[in-house]
Assembly symmetry: C2
Homo-oligomer: 192 residues x 2
DNA sequence: GGTTGATCCTAGCATCGCTAGACAAGCGAG
DNA sequence: CTCGCTTGTCTAGCGATGCTAGGATCAACC
């Protein structure tokens, strides 16, 4: 048994290496640079090894997305719990979201821009993704206002943050005015 | 001179054909299916002809984006001018935006998701793009509220619409709840 | 100690965006 | 009218992509 266990351990370790390397490479040079050949060379294995762990590049992106979702959920909860009162909590949450996206653009892409083969918004959605949404809901639900469903409110607020993130990063919005945008968003949307 | 003029006319006509075909193919089968080979075959010319009109695939996407921007600006203005009062105007604008994106997903991608090699948010930005933003600004500026810069307000509102569009279409948000989302957005953001 | 099975790599396929160089068609000059 | 030249188009091919088939290698087991 012990030998098989060791092999399984090594296999799991290599899988982590693949995901970590893909993420690192994507953050350094963008997802376009994450080719199977480049990735294989970095982990010092041949290409087919990748396919013994993942069905293809899509699944590797998906794995990075799940890792990112876990981190994002933690970052959002940390920011929210450090703030006092609903209003400050929402502001901190929004800032943390935008900050995460800016600091981890490749991971953000894997989560929300690229096709990682993951299910969203249904019962098959992986736990980390649902949890990230839950992290948003926890702080946003309390400021949804009377008669507004917390989930609906969260969706709209999230969409606004996502829009700001992607438009800014794609150069569609002038950079730098993040703070007043966040203030406007929180001022208007949150029923403090 | 007449011969050269005829040639120029034919050349311009073929360029329109390329853009129209690319757009059609993208709407039918997605941008992934718009390969230079496929596109060349549809216009009944060889691949290199494409490169005598455009520097590459990016520029073709950019051309579709510009065409789309012109149409979107017109659609937004038409919807806005058919509504009575600022509040109704903003609602109509938002619906028109989401509707345009839903009905022309490939064009919307060309404008805001893909790299069409276009400049955004600076002085080099092509006129159609600036005009589409202006169309938003015209209706949104009047409901920005006191002390809020109209451009800033427009950016945030637009980002929200963009977020709703992309998240919904990428399957990140459950489809179908569009109407209540729009109502919430307008209710909260617009200072009627 | 030889057999078997898992593991990994070399080599290759089809397709992608893009381009060089050959070829033909139509123009102006003699 | 004919010849050379420009202009326009096509065939063929390059390097790179995601992915896979099939052979080699190495370690575990009877």
């Amino acid at each position: 048994m012990s030998i098989q266990e060791r092999k399984q351990r090594e296999r799991a370790e290599r899988e982590r290496l693949i995901v970590a390397t893909a993420r690192e490479l994507a953050e350094q040079q963008g997802w376009d640079a994450v080719t199977t050949r480049q990735l294989a060379e970095r982990i010092e294995y041949s290409q087919p090894v990748l396919y013994s762990h993942f069905r293809g590049k899509r699944e590797i992106i998906g794995a990075v997305a799940l890792e990112g979702a876990t981190e994002m959920a933690a970052a959002l909860r940390a920011a929210a719990s450090a703030a006092d009162g609903p209003r400050a909590r929402v502001t901190a949450l929004a800032r943390a979201y935008l900050d995460f996206a800016e600091r981890n653009p490749a991971v953000y892409d894997a989560m929300f821009e690229l096709d990682g083969g993951l299910a969203f918004a249904n019962e098959d959605t992986p736990e980390p993704l649902k949890d990230a949404f839950a992290a948003l809901l926890e702080s946003l639900g309390e400021v949804a206002g009377d008669g507004v469903h917390p989930a609906l409110f969260t969706e709209v607020f999230w969409a606004a943050l996502h829009g700001l993130t992607t438009l800014t990063r794609a150069g569609r919005l002038p950079p730098g005015d993040t703070e007043p945008r966040v203030e406007l968003l929180v001022d208007r949307l949150a029923m403090v």
